[in-house]
């Protein structure tokens, strides 16, 4: 029983990272119809920013997260405005190609700047946590989960309560109608991508705290984001939160299968994704459009 509770806790805490990785990816996919293959690279950029600020300025890693968000927003905005907007109406394959290329460029720039060393942020309180009997709740993943939820909530707020967010929603519903009522598409696209990149940046900061990063570490995160968004369902931030936590839980229980079970943890998660696609194509919580 204790083991079961601990596993649930570990799964939910790991899910926090997946939520953070997933929300930005889901936003860009849902609104711009871009499966952003550079998402993982943007995550790693965020991780390096946090690492750099932590090692040179000795900032608390959680305080660097707003910096990650702002820096990645600016970068993402510029990227969409200057590059991706040019092919936004082209077939899906072109956006695949372009974002894949951007991924390679970002990764190799990181290699040039930071080298291929593995980096990780380990503050003094890393590894400490609450203990209830033999159940442990470590601080860093707990705060990370909180950050991921807060990030999702603020994204939902921006999308549903602000003028810019409503414009983004309008575009997601009907691009041409949105343009007809006077929404500046280029700007709104860029803001959307910027928001997605900002979320990726925050996710990267969290990942640098929990795991180790290297310029080429981004790829699995793109994949995880993809699964998380499909699990939860496209088009709603809350759905991605559910998807991320579900993914974390499935992974934890998959890994705890005795013997070589953990080898199949990923396969189990992907199997679940396929199952969801077959039985509920809109995702666990999604709205079908």
């Amino acid at each position: 029983m204790v083991d079961f509770v601990q596993l649930v806790i570990l799964g939910l805490l790991a899910g926090g990272v997946y939520v953070a990785v997933g929300v930005g990816f889901g936003l860009v996919w849902g609104v711009l119809n871009i499966v952003n293959l550079a998402h993982g690279a943007l995550v790693v950029v965020g991780g390096y920013l946090t690492w750099q600020l932590f090692t040179t300025l000795h900032l608390d890693p959680f305080l660097t997260l707003p910096v990650d968000a702002v820096a990645l927003f600016v970068f993402g905005y510029a990227l969409q405005r200057g590059v991706i907007n040019r092919i936004i109406r082209a077939p899906l394959l072109f956006t695949f190609l372009l974002t894949f290329g951007l991924n390679l460029i970002v990764v190799n720039l990181l290699l040039l700047i930071f080298g291929s060393d593995f980096r990780s942020v380990t503050p003094s309180y890393s590894g400490q946590g609450f203990e209830f009997g033999s159940i442990v709740i470590p601080y860093v993943p707990l705060i990370s989960l909180g950050v991921a939820i807060a990030l999702s909530a603020s994204l939902a707020f921006v999308l549903n309560r602000t003028r810019t967010g409503l414009a983004i929603n309008a575009i997601a519903s009907d691009r041409d109608a949105a343009q007809l009522v006077g929404i500046d598409l280029r700007h709104a696209y860029a803001v959307t991508y910027g928001l997605g990149a900002a979320c990726a940046g925050v996710a990267g900061g969290l990942i640098a705290l929990i795991q180790a990063i290297t310029p080429t570490a981004g790829e699995p995160y793109t994949l995880q984001a993809f699964v998380v968004v499909i699990l939860g369902g496209l088009g709603r931030v809350s759905a991605t939160v559910v998807g991320g936590l579900a993914f974390g839980l499935v992974e934890a229980f998959g890994q705890s299968i005795p013997g070589s079970g953990s080898v199949f943890a990923n396969a189990i998660a992907f199997g679940l994704m396929v199952l969801v696609l077959v039985t509920r194509p809109q995702g666990l919580m999604g709205r079908l459009r």
């Binding site: 083991d3 601990q6 596993l7 570990l10 799964g11 805490l13 790991a14 990272v17 990764v107 190799n108 290699l111 080298g115 291929s116 060393d117 593995f118 980096r119 990780s120 380990t122 890393s126 590894g127 946590g129 203990e131 442990v136 470590p138 860093v140 993943p141 990942i207 929990i210 795991q211 180790a212 290297t214 310029p215 080429t216 570490a217 699995p220 992974e251 934890a252 229980f253 998959g254 890994q255 705890s256 005795p258 013997g259 070589s260 953990s262 080898v263 943890a265 990923n266």
Partner: protein, 409 residues
């Protein structure tokens, strides 16, 4: 017309003089020996591949400063031709073939990692060109009956055996082991060897857990290890996984008398990523800057460390990936010298007969082509510094044992 022909003749004459002209006294300069090496200069194995390249280049500078490899009184300068295989084993094999057919490589140096070494070994065999490699320790490479692949490093099954040997000497003696292993060929060889070796030293593997190679989240595995309450926690995997396991162990209060990880702790990255949490961790290492071997040629261990620091300032001591890569070059050099020829078959035979000790240790190949004669050493990180703690005769520090609980550090 005649003037042009005359000029051509003169140029040709000068060229002939320059290339093959026989000067008097001292060795003459022969053709350049081209060595080919595909490396993962981008992609997931960039870090280790860069270290491999450093090891190769360190020797390259040294040999060319001496005019090249001496073959029958003629010095042949050396060139190493690198290609980026993007850390992809199949791509590595394609480039290896290109190095042989297009770049006319005389001999081959290995790529980084067991996977790429395995695919490259097949290419070396097909073309009957010797490949000396330093970064593929999986025995599966050497169980194919290949005759042209030689590995200077200790094979995978030895990686963590040193830790078990050391543990058997400690008091109180640890008896239970939890093994977390990645599911790639190399890691499983390392891990499975412990399954059979530990009982001979009076220890038992009470938990054996496989996880997906490259996994980033190992919380559930660490939880399973905690439930097994072992004296020794072993990881047979890679640097990222070692870091993830160490972080999770602290978070989830997994305490053990020994934490030992096969690959990872020996690199400076492990300490810089984990800070004080890296302390007390053991690893099995091919080589450390503290070992004491008496070299037959090339540099002593101390000179080697100094040469590395001079060429790659600011990177600290060379780690074992660098040293073993240099050792591969030394094995090839000595075999070419012994063969007295650049003929691939003769050099292959000279490699098979090689028995020489260099700063890296003894280099001698068994009938399969792997070096089973050099021992592995055990390192421990103590106060942020690597120390060699086993075998005792080459150690520079005592093991700090047992590892204190996380909340008592």
């Amino acid at each position: 017309m005649t003037v042009r022909r005359l000029a051509l003749l003169a140029v040709a004459a000068v060229a002939v003089m320059a290339c093959g002209g026989s000067g008097s006294g001292g060795p003459t300069t022969g053709s350049t020996i081209v060595l080919g090496a595909p490396l993962g200069l981008t992609g997931a194995l960039t870090k280790e591949s860069t270290l491999t390249q450093q090891g190769y280049n360190l020797w390259l500078d040294w040999i060319n400063a001496r005019g090249g490899i001496l073959v029958n009184g003629v010095k042949h300068p050396v060139q190493i031709k690198y290609y980026d295989d993007t850390s992809n084993a199949n791509q590595s094999a394609v480039l290896m073939q290109k190095l042989i057919t297009e770049d006319k490589a005389n001999f081959l140096l290995g790529p980084y990692g067991s996977a790429a070494t395995a695919t490259d070994a097949a290419i070396a065999e097909q073309n009957q060109i010797p490949m000396v490699e330093a970064n593929g320790a999986a025995q599966s490479i050497f169980n194919q009956g290949y005759k042209y692949t030689f590995g200077v490093l200790s094979p995978a099954n030895k990686y963590l055996q040193g830790v078990i040997d050391m543990a058997a000497t400690l008091n109180p003696k640890p008896t239970t082991i939890a093994m977390l292993s990645a599911d790639d060929n190399f890691s499983l060889e390392v891990a499975n060897a412990i399954n059979t070796y530990a009982p001979t030293k009076g220890m038992n593997v009470v938990l054996f857990k496989k996880y997906k190679n490259g996994a980033t989240n190992l919380g559930a595995e660490v939880q399973a290890a905690k439930a097994a309450n072992p004296d020794i926690v072993l990881n047979s995997g890679h640097l990222t996984e070692a870091i993830a396991i160490n972080k999770a162990a602290k978070q989830q209060k997994l305490n053990a008398k020994i934490f030992a990880y096969s690959v990872g702790p020996s690199t400076p990255d492990f300490i810089s990523a984990l800070g004080a949490d890296a302390n007390f961790v053991y690893d099995g290492s091919q080589w450390t800057p503290q070992v004491k071997y008496t070299p037959a040629f090339y540099l002593t261990v101390a000179q080697y460390v100094a040469a590395y620091k001079a060429k790659y300032a600011g990177l600290g001591d060379p780690d074992y990936h660098v040293a073993e890569s240099t050792a591969a070059c030394l094995a090839l050099q000595r075999a070419i010298e012994n063969a007295g020829s650049l003929d691939p078959k003769k050099v292959r035979d000279a490699l098979a007969a090689l028995d020489v000790t260099v700063f890296f240790g003894q280099i001698k190949f068994d009938s399969r082509g792997i070096n089973i004669y050099k021992p592995m050493v055990v390192e421990q990180i103590q106060s942020g510094v690597h120390h060699t703690v086993f075998p005792a005769d080459i150690a520079d520090a005592q093991p700090m044992y047992p590892t204190p609980a996380w909340d008592q550090r």
